[in-house]
Symmetry: C2
Subunit: 311 residues, 2 copies
Amino acid sequence: MKFELTVLGSNSAIPAHGRKLSAQLLNIKDELVLIDCGEGTLLQMFAYHIKYSKINHIFISHLHGDHIFGLVGLLTTYGLNRRKKTLNIYGPDGLDLIINVQLKLTETKLSYELVFHRTDPQQSTIVLDTPKFTVQTIPLLHRVPCNGYLFREKNQQRRINKSLIDHYDVPFTKISAIKEGADYTTPKGEVVTHQQLTLDPLPERSYAYCSDTMYTESILKLIEGIDLLYHEATFLHELLDKAQKTMHSTALQAASIAKQSKVKQLLIGHFSSRYQTPEVLEKEAQTIFLNTEAVQEGKTYPVGVEPILFK
Amino acid sequence: MKFELTVLGSNSAIPAHGRKLSAQLLNIKDELVLIDCGEGTLLQMFAYHIKYSKINHIFISHLHGDHIFGLVGLLTTYGLNRRKKTLNIYGPDGLDLIINVQLKLTETKLSYELVFHRTDPQQSTIVLDTPKFTVQTIPLLHRVPCNGYLFREKNQQRRINKSLIDHYDVPFTKISAIKEGADYTTPKGEVVTHQQLTLDPLPERSYAYCSDTMYTESILKLIEGIDLLYHEATFLHELLDKAQKTMHSTALQAASIAKQSKVKQLLIGHFSSRYQTPEVLEKEAQTIFLNTEAVQEGKTYPVGVEPILFK
């Protein structure tokens, strides 16, 4: 089952150098969720052929325009498309007012239910718990209340041990039950247990989105050992003063967070428009944490290792 | 002096077939004004290399998302660019609230003054009067209060009569004074009057923007004889029922308005997404009013005839 991230926007503040504003699409086992929604996000989803009607959960980190001004257009587009499914939006206090004022004054009646879930940017809480995954907030340090999100796969099934299935010549019709926990009895009456026929599940995969934030070690524990961390890296470290003043991070700081929290892979983004290309930021981060990549819009990044299931 | 229109968006409701949402840039004698501002307008201005910092007046027709959701992003971008000049926004009641709520909740302090001018969509009034041009509202008929805008050039200078200037061998240094009204005395003492040396000004050029509206003859008088009319044409006439229900116009109706009001040229836009290309709409309109063009995004349309001035 998929767990992968598609980056839709990577620039900070305003679009520049062909880079758009913050937005990411996460596919967790065919559940699509949107993270942040800068102006133009809908157009980016068109451009990358994303089935945006499948999104049921939208996670907003904070109420700065470059992360939210595309939201109302997306919501009204769902209305024009006669969406029926409830849409859940998670974000700090005030987001509901921003949206509702616009819906009211544009006399827009949505065809579906919109449910706002207010996050508490001061403390980490689980804001969504489904059979497939959980979503937990990550308190961040920015000029306005801001929280990131930690997405954790859960209940990953034991994997069919293909070689033993072959060895015992288990009929295809039994596979589904074995996956669910059944033993298998051979034609000769030998019982082969579920434990024998299956392998331990792979570790549960995890992704953390941390934008916007200044350097803070308070997040280390929460994101410890995760598969993929997206951490903002607005500036090079030579602009540390500016980063601190605007409560953003440098590429070196993002890498330091990745290293200390022992994540497996780091993506950096939210680039300042002063950087024509983000290569310099990527290189700086790699001096501390080699497995770093500057995000590219339209590119899809797998999260962790996909379990190999018997098909 | 220029009087020309650049179309930035031409689709209705949602972006489709590469067409963006309603927005137009009018250059009247080097004064840039923006008309409507759907989501993505800023990106369109980037794409067409428009000096958007020069815009001092923004005219909004009505409070539907496809005409306004790009506005707050543009306003905050001006702030990030440290704009100092006052920005004037004209539009129906509620626009100020939509913008101000977002600025407040995103804790955005603009670097410049923003002045809202509330229009009265019930009656035509002059909302801007400058030495170069006037702007007057055009009451329209739509599902929410809506008005178009009529832009009229004014005080067009008398034109230098190049053949007489050549005949009398008038020195270049005198041209400016002659333009302003001075006579010219030849070295032999002959007085040639300002009237002789100049030609009547060309008629004052005019442009009307009418979107969104159902067919209404109430606008005929206001737009009579103007150089260029933009009139929405969301549907083909075979969908007249739908046009009436949604309070939009058909291409045939737009053409009928153009014909009855004896405008010189018609542009149609605000196309329904059901039309892959707007050619069918253009063809339908041309059966009634031949000088019709379906707008193309990025294309610039001159308004009326540019006066030929002696340079």
